[in-house]
């Protein structure tokens, strides 16, 4: 017998049957590192002596015959010229006839194999076709082509069907239009049902879309019929059409929107579903739909639907529609408000857990929360608490939207009481790694602690001070974060029972170095102003004096004061011939900086070391100059700091040398009680070692000017100033800065910083303690009875509530007109 020999090298194994090039197995990607491996692979396949017809095993190309004992393959001494092939169990060698036989069988069954690969559904049951696969994991060519050829088959089938459908539809549509317009309701119903069926298949759907009369007829039938099934079929059809651009356009043009809005009152749930989903698609993709829905009264209906429905997916679509309609449109927001929207939305936030619904609802709330009319309604409905529930949610987008909404609402919520859990969450969120989250949390805390004692105490107790200090440290020079955080600390360090604890806590948590650092560049004026105010509060705590001095706070503050003052002088000289120039730099007036820095130095000057530094920095001339300022607040702080400095003999002398006596005497007559009181105190201290009769005259003059009757009541015309608390706002967040997607995102802060100064709380008794003109040697003991002089500075209110969306120019206090 002859044996066919296999080449040692790899190579395609060709069938050498009479049919020439037939099945051809490409084994070139078999690993052929060595011959042993190759033969081992051959060995692994099992060849039945019956060529595998019954076993279904693949057979090898019939051109190969084998000798037995494939076990010898493991030996290292295979003769490469004689590859042995193992045919498996009971392998016998085949002679040529048998090989030819096998070949022929395989050829005959080839077409079966191909047919089986392409049309498996046509194979009769139970037929076994000889397979040509050798390796279980190496598919044959036919096998590898089977999937693509099936896909091709499907495509061809679809095309054939499509053509059918299109033809059908084109012929049927005019008929159907006529039937839809029929008088008989049953006919209409049948026609609608038919159209609905047609609309499920693509080709006919396109035909329907492209026929405007059909769409019109559908809409008319839907609107006019009393039969709810007809409505349902028609609505279903429109729903199917709404997945395509031409469909949307056709519906829109044929006046579908008013009809769909009407359907929102339907009692049948499927109709509601079709209607809302179609409207949603229109709102998303069809230009002009928003206006049409608004005009058709869609908003009111959608809000009503929120109330009567429990299906979370339905609610999600409805709220998304509301969001699309309300975004950027003030009137829509007012309509939603009038329909009771805020209450419903808050209820949804409280009651459901489906994330998509919560997300879409939070977006609506965010859009509404910038509307000044909606804001109080949302807050009153419990919106803050409802949004706070979800701040720990996994979904980042939900948390972010809730935070933006909360920030927008926070200025209207300062009187609210049950915000404890919200405050707790916010403090935790300060530690988040997401910058946006931290920014929002800081901003909300800043607003909520403004003028609200309960919140201040709660935040302190919950570890807010430490969290805020850490946030400031980690924020570096990101002023978007540091400014609200510093403002929050400023609120927390004054005017509530735990203020002293807070002032200490800032120091304990290593806040002082980083705060002093923030006084330097690159900090901009708003941040500097906030830090200066915070340092003033911190200086109220004696334990902070030394650390503040060590970190060089005082020289830097004086530097800022000088710079700001020079700026105001420059403006004054430029505008000496015209109306006064009010200069805002970065949204902050330099006069405010002057006032803030002097006020801070005033408190720092309580400590003797600091006083020495202040004297050394040669500030006294500047303070004396500030006494001449036309601005009362500046007069007050200047007089205040001089009062502290005059406690030392050198200080008093320096003050007198600067010629402070004259302006101070002038200020005695100021109708501002604080100014007058401080002025009197400085004069008194300066008079310490003056002759007795001078003191006597001075005391007479002081008491007469201070006890002047009209000085202690509201000066005439005071009520003209008409500064109700609500108008005195710190403008913190401008959510309408851009509507391009960051709706509600914080914008630059601009400070308006105004409000009543609250001097009515200066106790009248303060000067009664003065034992002026006493016989005692040391004049300083009577001054101990003036502890309250330090207080006027503390009575001042925090920055009051921010007003969103207003600009400094709109501030009614500066200039307004009245209708007569």
């Amino acid at each position: 017998m002859s044996s066919y020999q296999m080449n040692a090298g790899s190579g395609p194994i060709r069938a050498m049957g009479p049919s020439g090039d037939a099945t051809y197995m490409d084994l070139s990607n078999m690993p052929v590192d060595n011959k042993q491996q190759q033969t081992m692979m051959w060995q692994q396949s099992q060849y039945m002596s019956d060529s595998g017809i019954h076993s279904g095993q693949t057979t090898q190309a019939p051109s190969i015959s084998s000798k037995s004992q494939g076990n010898e393959v493991d030996d290292g001494d295979m003769d490469p010229t004689k590859m042995m092939f193992d045919w498996g169990l009971g392998a016998d060698t085949y002679n040529q006839e048998q090989v030819d036989d096998i070949n022929q069988q395989l050829n005959q069954t080839r077409s079966q194999r191909v047919r089986a690969a392409m049309f498996p559904e046509t194979m009769p049951e139970g037929v076994q076709i000889p397979s040509t696969q050798i390796q279980p994991d190496q598919p044959t060519a036919v096998q590898r082509l089977s999937e693509p050829s099936q896909m091709l088959k499907h495509a061809v089938v679809n095309l054939i069907n499509y053509q059918d459908d299109a033809d059908l539809a084109t012929r049927a549509i005019p008929e159907l239009i006529k039937l839809l317009n029929d008088e008989d309701q049953v006919v209409v119903y049948q026609a609608a049902m038919m159209v609905h069926q047609l609309s499920k298949k693509e080709a006919s759907r396109h035909a329907i879309m492209n026929s405007p009369q059909m769409v019109t007829a559908l809409i008319r039938a839907m609107a006019n019929t009393e039969d709810i099934e007809t409505t349902r079929c028609a609505a279903g059809t429109l729903h199917n059409l709404s997945h395509h651009r031409q469909g949307l356009l056709a519906i829109f043009k044929s006046g579908g929107i008013p009809a769909l809005v009407k359907l929102l009152s339907s009692p049948l749930e499927s109709v509601l579903f079709y209607a809302i989903t179609t409207l949603h698609n229109l709102l998303l993709h069809q230009e002009g739909s928003k206006m049409a829905v608004r005009l058709a009264g869609g908003l009111q209906k959608m809000v009503a639907l929120l109330h009567h429905n429990n299906n979370v997916k339905f609610l999600a679509i409805t709220t998304d529609c509301l969001q699309i309609l309300a975004y950027g449109n003030q009137e829509s927001k007012l309509i939603i408000l009038a329909s009771g929207g805020p209450g419903e939305l808050v209820r949804i936030m409280k009651s459901y857990t489906y994330e998509k619904l919560l997300w879409t609802t939070s977006r609506v709330l965010k859009v509404l929360s910038v509307c000044p009319s909606n804001k109080p309604a949302i807050v009153e409905a419990g919106g803050m608490q409802a949004l706070a529930i979800h701040l720990g949610h996994q979904s980042q987008r939900l948390v972010q939207n809730c935070l933006w909404s909360l920030r927008n609402l926070s200025d209207a919520a300062t009187k609210m009481d049950q915000l404890d859990s919200l405050l707790h969450m916010l403090i935790q969120l300060l530690a988040s790694t997401d910058i946006n989250v931290v920014t929002c949390a800081a901003g909300i805390l800043s607003n909520l602690t403004c003028n609200n004692q309960r919140n201040k105490v709660m935040v302190c107790q919950l570890g807010g001070i430490e969290a805020l200090v850490r946030t400031i440290m980690q924020a570096g020079d990101r002023e978007d974060i540091t400014e609200p955080a510093v403002c929050a600390l400023r609120h927390l360090t004054s005017r509530h029972p735990e203020a002293e604890m807070a002032q200490n806590a800032v120091r304990v948590h290593y806040g002082l170095p980083v705060l002093v650092k923030l006084l330097h560049p690159p900090s901009r004026w708003p941040l500097i102003k906030a830090v200066v105010g915070l340092i003033r509060n911190l200086a109220l705590c004696p334990a902070n004096h030394a650390p503040l001095r060590e970190h060089g706070a005082l020289p830097r503050i004086v530097q800022l004061l000088i710079r700001a003052h020079q700026d105001t002088q420059r403006r004054a000289s430029i505008s000496s011939n015209g109306p006064p120039l009010t200069g805002y730099v970065d949204g902050v007036r330099m006069e405010e900086i002057v006032e803030g820095t002097v006020g801070t130095v005033h408190i720092l000057a309580r400590e003797a070391h600091n006083r020495a530094v202040i004297r050394g920095l040669n500030c006294i001339p500047l303070f004396v100059q500030l006494l001449y300022s036309p601005i009362e607040n500046i007069q007050r702080v200047a007089a205040g700091v001089l009062c502290e400095l005059a406690a030392d003999k050198e200080g008093a002398e320096m003050i007198e040398q600067e010629g402070a006596t004259a302006p101070l005497t002038e200020l005695l007559h100021s109708r501002n009680e604080g100014v007058a009181t401080y002025a009197a105190a400085v004069l008194f201290r300066m008079s310490e070692d003056k002759p007795q009769d001078y003191k006597k005259r001075l005391s007479l003059e002081l008491t007469s000017s201070l006890y002047r009757g009209d000085n202690w009541t509201d000066p005439p015309g005071f009520e003209d100033m008409s500064m109700p608390l609500e108008d005195s706002r710190d403008h913190m967040y401008n959510p309408q800065a851009s509507q391009g997607g960051m709706y509600g995102h914080g914008g630059p802060h601009s400070d308006m910083g105004r409000g009543p100064t609250g001097y009515e709380q200066v106790p009248i008794d303060s000067m009664q303690g003065l034992d002026i003109g006493s016989q005692h040697g040391s004049a300083y003991s009577p001054m101990e009875n003036l502890p309250d002089l330090a207080n006027p500075g503390e009575i001042n209110f925090d920055n009051l509530d921010p007003a969103l969306g207003t600009h400094p120019d709109d501030n009614p206090n500066l200039w307004y007109d009245t209708d007569v």
């Binding site: 500064m723 925090d798 500066l814």
Partner: protein
Amino acid sequence: MAGHTAGEPLECYSIPIVLEKEQDIDQQGNPIRDPDGKPRYRCGFRIGGGIDQDPSQSPQGYPDKGVYVTYIHDNSPASRCGLQLHDKILQVNGKDFTLVTHKQAVESIRKKPVLRMLVYRKGVPPLQKQGNPMVGHTQFQAYPHHAPSQQHYAPQHHQYQPQY
């Protein structure tokens, strides 16, 4: 008159205007009354400014602390009487308006049903001290106004809010 400092003497030509108010009515045509029963009148314009306001904050950019007309409603007595936008009101029913607070101005205007006003309007030629009165401009009447001896000015707004 590019901004007149209140309290200083002023001489200029002014325009006399008589405005008769109309009764304020609601949509059904019923007259609206004050809480104490008196009928309410409307003039139909808005005023801004005053000695206690800061004109640099005015959107219109008024140069001084006078009282200015900032808006005139259509179809109102104001639109019919010859008053114009941005007129500066110098006097109303004999009361000087160059040294009043905003509130005082509003109250004075609301007092009487007929207003006899003198206004200054930009474009009115300046008063000439010597010689001939303006020919052809007889509607202007010289407005000699001398500073009253008030020492007390209405208080300025507090501008700055300590933030503690």
